[in-house]
Structure formats: structure tokens, C-alpha cells
Symmetry: C2
DNA sequence: TCAAAAGTGTTCCGAATACACCCATGT
DNA sequence: ACATGGGTGTATTCGGAACACTTTTGA
């Protein structure tokens, strides 16, 4: 490294958030419609510039709050990876750090504000190319989906898609939506409830649905995030997705 | 996002490289001794500032070449993750994008140049805190090790630590060094040679060593990187490391 | 009484483990 | 001959897949 402290190029840095949720057995991603150039009128991931003195996760959480009205992170937020800075923004070199948010379905509140309109879109539609995304956001979304798929295998993060309490069937619906597969309900039940450090019984039951009431579970204490810090708990043995 | 295009803070961006290799059944990391402040005289990961018009992987490869004399990437290079920009450099906010290089043991050539002296250090020593690293490089190294461990499970990248041709025992030594475990030579042999899309026989044998000569293998064609692009091949079923 | 979903028991099979054993070389 | 590491065969065990079956509700 030449140490004459020359023009160390400085780059604008943005954070983008791939917010995923499961609704109606479908994996959805939160997208905004851009109101400004470039890519005006095009769908894009929510995100924006990192401010001085700000950390990456904080910036991602702030942008999420600004564009959805959600005050504190409603699920699991983690860094996905960085893209650029070359050739991904027509205005010039911009480095973006993409983030992945796994969250229960939450209402998008900013529809009426002067910010961009935000809404949920099925991931499969976007990745099939039925809608175009701005910048390299389609690639980022593809990477995020792959990350999410593998996260479900060896971490308890599927529960981040559910609320505080949930049934085994709801949890299974998450796996099926993210992995795009069908899982045997009986074997899944045994595996999920039998994996140490994953689920914790609440003693409560559902009522009013069709069929037999289901027991309500929550994430085991050791797998829960503490003080806003995301969990790093490991599912051992992993819940492997079917290959091929 | 307030779209008045205000002071979008611009950040200096660096790339750091965690170069790992296996030598004498030990996992080693490439470190330099810093010749300038801050952290002058302290060991650190090789790295440096991203230049205008440069991409992240290119910058990482360039810094590696500048500080080790290696012309083209001698193994598998991938992005690890980004750190900062807040509070990790006493000079101010610097965003760094860490990279992971898995490579066969290569000589460090820059010892005599005016660049920093570079050398291999056992990862275990560093993570035990027996040597201090500059900035947040110890945390980055810890993350890199975790990434490397899991990469070996589901990708053919253990071969990136070996040369062009290698024996099953050499490959096993890589797994043992990275995972810090012992593996049964017989079962490992069966698993490695029996995994489709992993190893390919060269027909050649070793000679001159103690014991029976070993067959030489290379990475299967479908698992080899093409045109400098890293491989994304997947090992299925994975080679699972022993847990607990 | 029937449909629907929850949950349990059981069988089957393939993969991981442990280890006995043989092979091919250097000394 | 013997030590050293390479490689194969085999019994055991464990976990996942498949699925019959019972349980508990709503309609």
C-alpha cells in the first residue's frame, strides 16, 4: 500500500434492505416505487445513504423506519453483502451494503406520506422477471433469497417470520414458502419440537380454526435475540431442505 | 429518504484480505507488520484503500498482489463482509470490506521490498490473543474462520487449500486443520471419493513417501472455477463436521 | 357424522460410524 | 521382517422418509 496518503477515493455508501415476510403461504419482499431519477417509477429495494457517524445496521434500520414507519426492527436484521462500487449506478460509483430482514408480516405505513409508496410483492414474481427492479437489486434479491434458504437450515431464524407465539404448522408454512417445497407435517412436527434449543411450549392453544387446536410455541430462550442483537444460535442437527 | 441530495457522506473504503493456508497441519493466516500509524508495529491483515473505478474483488486482488508479490489470485477469493464505518479507525470513519482467500501455501515475496513485512501466523495463536491485531482485525479473522469452517461442509473449496493435484490424505489434513478435529482416514476416503462432483482421479500416484503410494486427485471439472470466477458448486450431500 | 388439521407410533432404508483387515511401499 | 500410511469390507447404529393411525375440534 503506497503510504503517501494520496487521493484515497471516497465513496458514497448506501444501505439497502431486503425485507422478507411470509403471507398467504407466499414469500414476499418489500419494494418501493422510486419517485426520482435514476430509475424513476421503477420498483426498488428500500434503502438510502449512510450518514456520517452511523453504523451499517443502524443505517439500515433507520432507512427501514423512514420508508415503512416501523419504529424498531420487527424481526431479524443482518448484513447480506456489499456490491459495487463500479458500474451499478448511472450517477457514478456507489457502494451499497445490502441487508436481510426476516420479519412477520407488518403493515407498510408510508403509503400516504410523501416518501415512496411501499408494498409487498411475491419474490417468485420478481425473480421470474415479471417486474423489473432498479440498479442491481434483482441480483441482490436473488442472493438474499439464497441466504434466507440456507439460514433456515441451521439457525432458528424461521421463527423470525412468525409472531411472538406460533404453531408448528405456521412455522412449517415458513419453511415451505422460503424453500418452495412441501414438507411432511408429521415428520416436521417431530423434528421441530424435538430439536433442542429451538421451540419452547407456551402451554396455550389455538382456538376457532378448523380441525384440532394446535399448541402454541415460542422461540426457546437461548435462541432469542437479546437487547436488539440478532441471535447466532445454531440448530443442531440442522433441518435440511430437500435437494433436487 | 430525504431527496434534497444533501451531504451524502462519502467514506474512505478499504478492502482487507484474510488469506488462509494450511501448512504442517496448521491453519495459518497472512499478516503484515504495519510500518505507519495508527497501530504502527502491530500485526494486521493485508489490505488498503479502494481506488476510484475499482471493484471490491479487484481491489482485494490488487492489494494482495502488492503486499505478497503474487500476480494472480492463487486460490479462492470471496467477499466476507463489511465492517464499520463507525469507531474502528482512530483517524475517522472508514468502511472496510473484508475478503476471504483460501489458498495453497505460497511464499510471501515482499519481505525485502519497502512494503510491510508479511508472514504466516497460526490462526489459533492469534485468536487465543497471543498476538494483538490492529483495528478490528481479530474479529474479522474470527468471522473468516467461521466462514471457512462452514464452507468446507457444503462446498468443494477445501481443494483450494491444495495444489493442482493432491491426495485424499492431504485433503483430509485441510479439513482437520480448519475444523480442529480428527477424522477417520478410512471413512473420509470413502466419503470424499464417493461424493459426486467433488474429486476426479488423475491416474497418477505419489512416490517416495513412507507407506503405500497414494492416488492423486484433482477437483472435478464441474467444481473448478472458470476464468478467474470463483466456483459456486455445492457438495451434496455435505461433508458434515462433528458437532460437540 | 364427517371433514380437517394436530399429533403419535412404526417400519423401512440409507448414510455415518467404528473398526477389522488387506495392500504397497520404504527401511 | 516390520513400520507406515493407503484403501476396502462389514457390522452396527442413528436419523430421515413414508405412512398408518389416533385425537380433537368445527360444521
Amino acid at each position: 500500500m503506497p503510504e503517501s496518503h494520496p487521493e484515497h477515493a471516497r465513496f458514497p455508501v448506501t444501505v439497502d434492505v431486503v425485507a422478507l415476510t411470509v403471507a398467504d403461504d407466499t414469500l414476499n419482499v418489500l419494494l418501493i416505487t422510486r419517485l426520482i431519477e435514476p430509475f424513476r417509477g421503477t420498483l426498488a429495494l428500500p434503502g438510502g445513504f449512510v450518514l456520517a457517524g452511523e453504523d451499517l445496521l443502524s443505517a439500515a434500520a433507520r432507512e427501514l423506519a423512514e420508508e415503512t414507519g416501523v419504529e424498531h426492527v420487527p424481526g431479524h436484521l443482518e448484513q447480506l453483502g456489499s456490491y459495487g462500487p463500479k458500474g451499478r449506478d448511472p450517477r457514478g460509483d456507489v457502494l451499497t451494503v445490502a441487508h436481510l430482514l426476516l420479519a412477520p408480516n407488518f403493515p407498510v405505513l408510508s403509503a400516504g406520506s410523501d416518501a415512496e409508496h411501499a408494498g409487498w410483492y411475491p419474490v417468485s414474481q420478481v425473480l421470474r422477471g415479471e417486474v423489473q427492479l432498479a440498479f442491481d437489486h434483482e441480483r441482490i434479491l436473488a442472493d438474499a433469497l439464497e441466504r434466507a434458504k440456507s439460514k433456515l437450515e441451521y439457525s432458528p431464524l424461521a421463527a423470525a417470520f412468525c409472531g411472538e407465539e406460533f404453531t408448528v404448522a405456521q412455522l412449517r408454512a415458513v419453511y415451505e414458502a422460503v424453500w418452495g417445497t412441501r414438507l411432511d407435517p408429521r415428520n416436521f412436527h417431530r423434528k421441530a419440537t424435538g430439536t433442542p434449543g429451538f421451540l419452547e411450549s407456551t402451554g396455550r392453544m389455538t382456538a376457532g380454526d378448523a380441525g384440532r387446536p394446535a399448541a402454541l410455541f415460542r422461540l426457546a430462550k437461548t435462541a432469542r435475540p437479546t437487547a436488539g442483537q440478532p441471535t447466532h444460535a445454531v440448530l443442531n442437527p440442522p433441518l435440511m431442505r430437500p435437494r433436487d
